[in-house]
């Protein structure tokens, strides 16, 4: 059992959990993730580690409540326990020294990009961060990112905060403006990572993406998270989650992410019906 010691809503539907998991905290590095299970009937889902405190033995995760499992998680309060947390899983983010790195966090991806940016900064890099979301109400951790970045750009799809547009726009301006970028690291939705990786391809800038496909065990046992990278099948959980953005087959990834769309919808509807008494025929909550 892993106790939630702090819980805070930091954006619309977006909650930050600090959980006691000393075994995980002892070993975790930026870029790694955990697999959690909320309760005996729960599924195993991967969550990226967004921060950790080795002295306190805690890890922090940021979760967007969209499906049954994340809503179950949101129903837990400080002092409650998560049944299982296993990790740290995946390879740590590759951190270079003394370069110029653009860190891009889109939506929920703002959380995992933070510890990577912090580590890059500590290792003497010039860190330029770009964070973006659909709208201002979905943005978070601006202060945290500002504190570890030499430059911070904010974009929203609707222009409600920062500039209107997508993360790729300030990135293109930086590149076209002559900034010598050694590396771009992107964490966000599959489509955002695809589009943004395409933008750096003609400039031959090494571009790393961190993938978040469907997983079960997270230890290389099931192959649910397989993805094609450079024409070869890789398991995201053990070979990733970071891959070369110019080599990833994003269309395959996006299609695989939709594998259980109808089941996810069904699970959420049944759950909403159970806790809120919403008749099954009336609930039409989006699943993603």
């Amino acid at each position: 059992m892993y106790k939630i010691i702090a819980k805070k809503e930091i954006a619309d539907n977006t909650t930050q959990y600090e959980v006691e998991a000393p075994d995980v905290a002892r070993k975790a590095k930026p870029g790694q993730f955990v697999v959690i299970r909320t309760d005996e009937k729960g599924e195993r889902i991967p969550l990226t580690i967004a921060d950790l405190n080795k002295e306190k033995g805690t890890v922090t995760m940021v979760v967007l409540s969209v499906g049954k499992t994340t809503k179950k998680l949101a129903a837990l309060n400080e002092g409650d326990c998560i049944l299982d947390i296993a990790g740290p899983l995946g390879n740590p983010a590759e951190i270079i020294d003394n370069g110029t790195v653009v860190c891009i966090g889109g939506g929920l991806g703002i959380a995992p990009i933070y510890p990577i940016a912090r580590e890059l900064k500590a290792r003497g890099n010039r860190v330029i961060s770009i964070i973006g979301a659909r709208s201002a109400s979905l943005l978070f951790w601006e202060d945290r990112l500002r504190a570890v970045s030499d430059e911070l750009h904010i974009v929203t799809d609707d222009g409600s905060k920062g500039r209107k547009g997508f993360a790729v726009h300030p990135l293109m301006e930086l590149i076209n403006g002559g900034v010598k970028v050694d590396r771009v690291i992107i964490v966000g939705s599959a489509i955002m990572m695809k589009v943004t990786s395409e933008a750096t391809r003609p400039h031959h800038i090494k571009t790393i993406v961190s993938l978040n496909p469907i997983m079960v065990d997270g230890t290389g046992m099931c192959g649910s998270c397989r993805v094609t990278v450079g024409g070869k099948t890789k398991f995201t959980c053990v070979d990733g989650p970071e891959f070369d953005g110019h080599q990833v087959d994003f269309d395959e990834l996006m299609s695989r992410l939709k594998t259980y769309a109808s089941e996810e919808k069904q699970a959420l509807e049944t759950y909403t019906h159970q806790i809120e008494g919403v008749p099954l025929c009336l609930s039409s909550s989006p699943t993603k």
Partner: protein, 468 residues
């Protein structure tokens, strides 16, 4: 010649074990075999010839005193039979269900020369199930600690044997439930999870601590374990890495590794979705590729999830299938359609990247290969396609490389198995032992247990020698 005193027992006929009827069981996940009643067990046990030199024991990888426990059953001393089993086999209720008895103990039984051999597996299952309470062992702790990696058949066996020798044993399990392949791999209808839980409880009753969610190589590594004061480490992490065929279309939606399909259903209880949160695709027409027990398990599971057609595609003939005979027969009875001497060449998807068909070529058997089985050869121009919406690849697994990758000094061999000394089961790292599928590649529950028993003895010797 064994002395034989006439005792008016009809030895010709083996007592059948009651089963759920095929049509009914193909729709539920309850256990297929129902076990012997007391009367049936006694009658079957009486068939034993009481050989002076019992060959059956030669066939048992863990050396169970078969004549003794069979005699105890015949005499109605069921609890004693249970104790006799536990003396050598820590997991008898499991072995009675999943061991390939036909190629081990029962193969050696002298009754089998003329009639059917004694049903040793069924009797083992009866005695183990019949034990009313967990038998307590008398243990004196010796103050030394041993760490076990993995709580599957090898890990549980090594843990139990070492605990009985007096060691303080801790098992590190990566998943959220103990049992390894017994819980994620073998389906409920063949090995009920309540039985596994009972056997695990027995191992715990010997003082073994099971720590869950501990991925050795990630959460904790081998060096950490030595630092924490463990005098030796036994790695029994199995062969958990699924093999794929490397044919086009394998990453389409609807293609599963058997490991994923079975894990979703067995460990995560997807057959009870949405009561349980983990989903699994319930295919209408399912192709399973492979001819081993895992392929049978996958096919029969798909059938139980409601598939209309389940095709089992295997590149050799039925004779060559490595599956247990009973599983093969059960699969056929349940309506699994065998597509023998066929090999998939590609999986075809629709515009949504969802599987819609599998293309296969016909094979014929050529010369025998190094395993002694005739190797299949493609027949040119024999391509056919089967319309399916789900494909399950059950062509084998290899060891997960995680521990080897994170442990300096561990030597690996072909397919990533750990290299061990043939006698002591010690790896290339002093104090680190290994056994089961991580050493032999994917094999059986009982062979893993046999190796673990040997390794446990070697660990005891190693620690005693070291501490003088």
């Amino acid at each position: 010649m064994p002395k034989f005193i006439p005792d008016k027992v009809d030895r010709r006929k083996r007592i059948p074990m009651r089963e759920q009827e095929a049509g009914a069981r193909a729709k539920n996940f309850d256990e297929v075999s129902l076990g012997y009643s007391e009367e049936e067990a006694k009658n079957e046990a009486r068939r034993c010839m009481k050989c002076e030199t019992p060959m059956c024991m030669e066939g048992c990888p863990v050396g169970v005193d078969i004549p003794k426990f069979v005699k105890e059953i015949a005499e109605g001393k069921f609890d004693e039979a249970g104790k006799t089993l536990k003396d050598k086999n820590n997991l008898p209720a499991i072995c009675g269900r999943v061991c390939p008895q036909e190629s081990q103990c029962e193969k050696m039984c002298i009754l089998g020369m003329k009639w059917k051999p004694l049903a040793i597996g069924r009797l083992e299952r009866f005695a183990a199930d019949h034990e009313k309470e967990i038998s307590k062992a008398d243990i004196k702790l010796n103050g030394k600690k041993v760490a076990i990696v993995g709580s599957g058949p090898a890990g549980l066996t090594a843990a139990a044997d070492l605990a009985r020798m007096g060691y303080g044993v801790t098992i590190f399990e990566a998943l959220h439930k103990p049992g390894g392949v017994l819980v994620y791999g073998i389906p409920e209808f063949r090995l009920p999870k309540a039985i596994v839980e009972r056997e695990v409880d027995y191992v715990k009753s010997l003082g073994v601590e099971v720590r869950l969610n501990q991925i050795v190589g990630k959460t904790v590594d081998v060096d950490d374990l030595f630092e924490q004061g463990y005098a030796a480490i036994f790695i029994g992490s199995g062969a958990g890495l699924p093999s794929f065929m490397r044919i086009p279309g394998e990453n389409l939606n609807g293609v599963y590794s058997a490991n994923e399909f079975l894990t979703r259903v067995n460990l995560m209880r997807a057959f009870r979705f949405p009561e349980y949160d983990t989903p699994v695709k319930r295919g209408k027409n399912v192709a399973v590729v492979g001819g081993g027990n895992v392929a049978m398990d996958s096919a029969r599971t798909a059938k139980r999830l409601g598939a209309e057609h389940v095709y089992l595609i295997y590149r050799r003939g039925e004779e060559e299938m490595p599956a247990r005979r009973e599983e093969l027969e059960h699969a056929k009875e349940e309506g699994i359609e065998f597509k023998l001497l066929m090999n998939p060449t590609k999986i075809i998807g629709d515009e949504q990247r969802q599987v819609k068909a599998i293309e296969c070529v016909c094979m014929e058997l050529g010369e025998a290969d190094e395993s002694g089985r005739r190797s299949p050869v493609c027949k040119d121009g024999s391509e056919t396609t089967l319309d399916v919406d789900t494909v399950i690849i059950a062509i084998g697994t290899s060891p997960n490389p995680m521990i080897a990758k994170t442990t300096p000094g561990l030597k690996t061999g072909k397919h990533g198995v750990l290299e061990v000394d043939g006698y002591s089961f010690m790896t290339s790292r002093e104090g680190v032992f290994a056994g089961g599928d991580i050493v032999s590649g994917a094999a059986t529950v009982i062979s893993a247990m046999g190796q673990a028993k040997e390794a446990a003895k070697a660990i005891d010797e190693f620690i005693k020698n070291k501490s003088g």
